[in-house]
Amino acid sequence: MRSSTGIKQLAGLLVGGLLLALSTAVLSESAVTKGSKAADLGACVAPTEEMRRNHMDYLQHDRDLTVHEGIRGVKYSLAECVDCHAGKDEQQKPIPINAPGQFCAGCHEYMAVSLACFQCHRKTPEDKTTSLGDALDDKARAGHSLGLLLDAGQQPMLSPAEFAQLHALIQED
């Protein structure tokens, strides 16, 4: 009797340890697509937990600002998500971000949340050389960078408390 409980306890300990090891391995592995621009960057436009929880609200909010108010230099831009998070295949060609297993689709499929953005919006980073006239491009490059991506080490523009406030505001609407 005694020895069998001892074995059970040992087995339980082993299984528990294994699970712990597995889960830490999963936690330490980043969800960011390997080979994407984001893989080399320290931070997104907001802390990761913030983006995981609230990215949908930020984008939903901004679409009205952009379409109706003409404000295009907003902090959260879908194009910038794609720019940073789209992966590349062996030929270094960008893979659509809504392709199975890619950054957006991977999570959305798992959560069974439909991802309608890319029925209309561009799914791969745009080749900047084909964009508007040179004058406009220079203007865009100087000062008003569309997505306002943070450099590693640069402080986020808003504190977590401010984000929470902003988020509460959006939910009220």
Binding site: V67, H68, G73, C120, S131, L132, K139, A140, L166
Partner: protein, 258 residues
């Protein structure tokens, strides 16, 4: 004798209004102030201080030239649309997106021919906005008439209502888009006066640029409310027409020599 009136009880309304304003100011102010403080000069958003429009000199519009149409297609990713499998050429020609059409008019009596590009006329009183059941078809404060495709349900009432046949419907899934020109199955779209350029501080449209570089200079883009803009000066100097002026839509696109 008590005084009867059909006017609303203004005092009560004012009181309610003020309370609501005060309450929202208290709760909303931190967030609002935050976003306002971050807004740069290009983040002010659209204002009704301007009204964008086009003036097209049909005498300068050359027969057979399609540079404005081509430029529009490149600028707005319309040339990325591909013929869906199984569609006949005739169907494709009828259904493909077109924001600008070249139109040729002929005077039946004299045989005189006039060429002109026809696009969304950006009406002050747009019929497409009147009929839209969801509010997707809307007029921006600066006079640009657009479709918010997040809200569009693809009913195509606006296409029926438009006297200029300016709108197109996306019948099939679209594989490739530009960042500045999203496009997807089931929505209506039309000329936006190159709104992405305007919002980024641009002062020309793709069609105007193309027409100028061809040497025709038939298209002038500008602010109709600014008396010193090229378009306002030109409108003041020569007689111009709105197409279907009888509908009293006060179009933002005007034509001379029609």
């Amino acid at each position: 004798m008590s005084k009867s009136t059909d006017q609303p009880e203004m005092n009560r309304r004012e009181f309610l209004g003020k309370t609501i304003v005060a309450a929202t100011a208290a709760t909303v102010a931190p967030g609002v102030l935050l976003s306002v403080a971050k807004a740069g000069p290009e983040q002010k958003g659209v204002t009704s201080d301007v009204r964008w429009g086009l003036l097209i000199d049909t005498n300068k519009c050359a027969d057979g030239c399609t540079s404005c149409v081509d430029a529009c297609h490149t600028e707005n990713g319309i040339d990325l649309q591909e013929k869906p499998e199984g569609h006949s050429d005739a169907m494709w020609e009828q259904q493909r997106v077109q924001w600008i059409r070249k139109v040729k008019l002929q005077d039946k009596l004299t045989g005189e021919q006039t060429n002109l590009p026809l696009m969304c006329q950006h009406c002050e009183h747009p019929p497409c906005v009147d009929v839209c059941p969801t509010g997707a078809s809307f007029k921006r404060a600066d006079g640009i008439v657009m479709v918010d495709r997040h809200i569009c349900i693809g009913c195509r009432y606006c296409m029926m209502a438009c006297p200029y046949k300016a709108r197109s419907f996306i019948h099939e899934e679209v594989a490739n888009q530009l960042v500045r020109a999203p496009r997807g199955k089931g929505c209506v779209e039309s000329c936006t006066l190159c709104v992405h350029r305007i919002d980024d501080g641009g002062t020309t449209t793709a069609c105007q640029d193309a027409c100028s570089s061809e040497g025709h200079n038939a298209i002038v883009f500008g602010d109709l409310k600014d008396p010193n803009s090229d378009i306002s000066k030109a409108l003041k100097e020569q007689s111009s027409r709105q197409i279907r002026a009888d509908l009293e839509l006060n179009t933002g696109v005007r034509y001379t020599n029609v």
